[in-house]
Amino acid sequence: MIRADHISKTFDGRTVLDDISVEFDTGKTNLIIGRSGSGKTVLLKSLVGLHDVDKGNIFFDDVCYTKLNFAERKNIRKDIGMIFQGGALLDSSTVRENVRLPLDLFTEMTEGEKRDRVNFCLERVRLNGADHLYPSELSGGMVKRVAIARAIVLNPRYLFCDEPNSGLDPQTSVVIDNLIHDITKEFNITTIINTHDMNSVMEIGEKIVYIHEGHKWWEGSKDNILEADNRELNEFVFASAMAKRAKSVSR
């Protein structure tokens, strides 16, 4: 479980997050949605510790992350996997080296154990055979899958994904969504995905938090988002022509 307790964040006097309290459940695919510039990326980066919040606290299970010092945070970070929008793979390393890096730095595994673990993770994201390639030689979907493999290689308890579908075609997006969802269930991870892809919302959104202008505006699941009585949320959900048409047809 990850819990934000009345967190606020400002940049140069501009409030980006304003008194947000929210809880993300273990073993569920939790989604943060919102328009561009609404503050959802700042919320995700604050939760993961890349931004220090100005007010409030963040809890990883029972541990108050915001009160930890650098060394104590480091221990929790080993339990965190993160998939960045662009993949954030190390350009100068091959797929195998990228996935293996956390094992090299933080485990005492033997060479054979590391090889097996990397093979398992690459197989899990269906990328066996691509281990010798460099990030520049991969397609967008493959980059995301390598990022997922790297994120899960240390068996994380918490998985953060920043717009994992951006730049991908709809079919590949579904593959990535399902992969993240399956991994969440398989390893009982607390997963938080930052997205504005409504397909993801309807496919895997077990818990959804809608952020609007730095405030938590709505909270629910994919089962009740379409019936939500919230003007800003409805404008966001039914923004596309296809969604509008689907809504009118259903009526």
């Binding site: 970070r77 993160m82 954030a88 730095l105």
Partner: protein
């Protein structure tokens, strides 16, 4: 002015992170060797070309300038050696490498910053500053003195070649000049300068890249800042080291 002090403060704070205890030494050893190749060995050809030509030009200029029956010809070899050892091979080569290596480091680390690769390392719990910058500093601080020695040697050979090929002086006189009034400490002086300048180039360029923000334009600006800042700092430290270590 405030921005300058802010930058200096942040630079030293970054150095504090860089020199904190590494996660695993084995990984760092491998990265140091990688950087020795990327930043050191790959600079050999540029250093060789520039040093050979400058050595030749210095010898030629000295021959023209010192053309007098009262000045012995071996002074040309002597002057060429002194120029190469005391200034050119450490300072000028450092300035040239600030352009090559400095921009390379700043753009590499800057790109890693804007593509969130540094954030990815931080999330994993890696001390990104140490992991990315320390191997580069160690590699260049070790390798630059060797590059300085190499530059001295190639420059002197360049001077000899021009003496031999053009006949402006007897090669024997040139060699005699090379050994005339030789002070071994001047080599130590050149090596110390090489190491200090290597540290300046690598750490300042890494700093410029590490704090790059925004987009690819900013990476370009960080790269330019790295070359300008390290070149100016090299000149300042050249003056300081020359005063401290007067040969």
């Amino acid at each position: 002015m405030i921005a300058l002090f802010e930058n200096i403060g942040r630079y030293f704070m970054l150095l504090g992170k860089v020199f904190s205890r590494p996660e695993k030494m084995g990984i760092y050893y491998r990265k140091i060797w990688f950087e020795v190749e990327a930043l050191g060995f790959n600079s050999i050809s540029l250093t060789a070309i520039i040093s050979a030509f400058i050595g030749a030009v210095v010898a030629l200029q000295m021959a023209i300038t010192l053309e007098s029956p009262f000045i012995p010809q071996f002074m040309i070899g002597y002057a060429t050696r002194e120029v190469m050892v005391l200034e050119f091979s450490s300072t000028v080569v450092a300035l040239i490498l600030a352009g090559k290596i400095g921009s390379n480091i700043a753009s590499e680390i800057g790109t890693m910053r804007i593509t969130e690769q540094i954030d990815a390392l931080e999330i994993m719990g890696v001390n990104s500053a140490s992991y990315l910058i320390l191997p580069k500093i160690v590699a260049t601080v070790i390798f630059f003195p060797l590059l300085t020695l190499f530059s001295i040697f190639v420059g002197i050979v360049g001077g000899y070649a021009i003496a031999y090929l053009t006949g402006i002086m007897l090669p024997g006189d040139y060699i005699e000049g090379l050994f005339y009034y030789f002070e071994p400490f001047s080599i130590v002086y050149a090596l110390v300068k090489g190491s200090v300048f290597a540290f300046i180039i690598t750490s300042i360029s890494a700093y410029c890249g590490y704090y790059a923000k925004g987009n690819s334009l900013e990476v370009g600006r960080a790269s330019t800042r790295a070359v300008v800042s390290s070149s100016v700092t090299i000149m300042i430290f050249d003056l300081i080291l020359t005063q401290i270590m007067r040969v």
